[in-house]
Symmetry: C2
């Protein structure tokens, strides 16, 4: 098995690569047979840190580079994890960059997979940003796509394309809509939801942070561990389990900002909470305020996918994985 | 006012141009003021027939031709009707052609409008093919897009792009989802729904025709006159009337194939009906069978848009407009 991960130097890409290397094989073809992983190619704008494993190859390239990507995606590739994206806040600030990466590069990737001719499996990570407007009380996999940000529009278009390329038999696509990932390690990013990690990460690291939204706001959250679990499981679902509906909302937790702060206090004490400054940012609220917070995840659960038990467990996992 | 119509040599494009030339002006800017139409540019692969009017310019060009299109769309253009498309059956048969016209050329057109810098008004005709899968009993403007054909996917992507370009202030977009147009004059085309016109047109012209679907199938129909009414009205709606929801389902009629044939008999007698051969075509049924037939058109009606009173009126309009 040869696997390509776009966005492979990003934090999810690296965690995914590490997880894949721990597996004794992966079932990424229609026959459902678990086969050993021979090579994992990480492609990203910057080279991924050396994982010290011969089976891993790191390619520093822009995924808009047709020549490089053409050299990576061929008949020998069994599975592509397409994680690379310009995040929500950045895609809103730089429309053309968002279109180039989130739409054009995604489409070119699909065309390369199609040209490979063997219907490779493609796992595309999408986002709750495909939803918006007047939402039903509970969001399901069937809720209409009505994105209200350029990022959400670009992700929705990627979903539509992957669905059609799958229907046409060009690829075996599956779309995994990630809840907001919390707690991300590292530095804040330009995602409008960056604060959903910063609220925990910065205070636990002794750093001040800003809460740009109302504490009543409910977020739909998944830990990095849970995200990797979902991505690896989603990649191995039989195609028939998804049928015509290739998109799956990964099971998240609906958590209010106030509940997140209470969990922070349990983990880090009052001193941690005191590092939060409350200063609402209309630009952030306009984007994340339109994302749904209540979900029916029965389809994902029926397919065997699991999320986190509660937000305290998410904080504990962050401390274990990133701080210890 | 300068107006550009893509697909201007097509039957709807020509009818639209003729109708526009009959108007004493059009309200195509935010101020709602009706202004005289100085020029109508018809762009299409083939030159439109000469309408004998100095205000009309016909440009024979492929809308994928960036240079020609760049010369046509500039700061002097107030209103663009983007009607050009590869129809459903053809887009299914030639995936790349459908993508090139329905997606890439549409996007380039939007980018040219954006580059013009004055937020021109863009009317994009879409299709019931954006729907599919398990539909609610009644379809509304809020029903989720779930296309099951490449044409429907490409139209849905066009809708998403036009929505985002509007939200960003690049254009003032409005999406008019056309019911199946019946009765189209002229020859059969490659739309999967071509039979919805052929069933009436061919027998009334003394020609045999094929009914490729069950007579129980319900179609959602609008006459060419009704379509032009809707397109002209949609172009003049104030932007605020559409708000965040730029797409509007034009009011059609839900008519079964059996009811269409009964109306044919009333207009053309038993001899006309005898010209129909019943031979179901699974490829056609797979596409049109997934389109919804029951609709809530209250939003369109509240905005002042009207459809046809009944299918007999549609047949009469065809006889008046095309046969007399």
């Amino acid at each position: 098995m040869k696997i390509v991960i776009t966005g492979g130097a990003g934090f999810l890409g690296q965690k995914l690569a590490r997880r894949l290397l721990q597996l004794d094989g992966i079932a990424a073809r229609d026959d459902g047979v678990r086969r050993p992983i021979d090579e994992v190619v990480l492609v990203d704008r910057v080279a991924a840190p050396d994982l010290g494993v011969a089976r891993v190859r790191s390619v520093a390239a822009d995924i808009t580079d047709a020549q490089v990507m053409g050299g990576l995606i061929g008949p020998d590739v069994d599975l592509v994890f397409h994680l690379a994206a310009i995040v929500s806040g950045a895609a809103e600030a730089d429309f053309d960059l968002g279109m180039a990466i989130n739409l054009d590069a995604s489409r070119r990737l699909l065309d390369l997979c199609r040209a490979a001719g063997h219907r490779p499996r493609v796992v595309f990570t999408s986002s709750v940003a495909v939803y918006g407007g007047a939402l039903p009380p509970v969001v399901t996999d069937e809720t209409r796509l009505d994105p209200r940000s350029s990022y959400g529009v670009q992700k929705a278009i990627g979903e539509l394309l992957l669905g059609d390329y799958t229907r046409k038999g060009f690829v075996d696509g599956r779309i995994l809509r990630l809840p907001t990932i919390s707690v991300r390690p590292g530095a804040p990013n330009k995602a409008a939801s960056s604060f959903a990690s910063g609220l925990i990460r910065e205070p636990l690291g002794g750093q001040p942070t800003v809460c740009p939204v109302s504490t009543d706001l409910r977020l739909w959250l998944l830990s990095p561990r849970g995200a990797i679990d979902g991505i690896v499981a989603g990649a191995q679902l039989p195609s028939s389990a998804l049928g015509d509906q290739r998109a799956l909302n990964l099971p998240g937790l609906s958590v209010s900002v106030a509940e997140m702060i209470a969990a922070l206090e349990r983990a880090g004490g009052r001193a941690a909470v005191d590092l939060i400054r409350f200063e609402r940012d209309p630009a952030v609220e306009a984007i994340v305020g339109g994302w749904p917070a209540a979900w029916d995840i029965s389809r994902a659960q029926a397919l065997g996918l699991k999320g986190d038990p509660d937000f305290d467990a998410i904080v504990r996992a962050y401390v274990e994985d990133e701080l210890n």
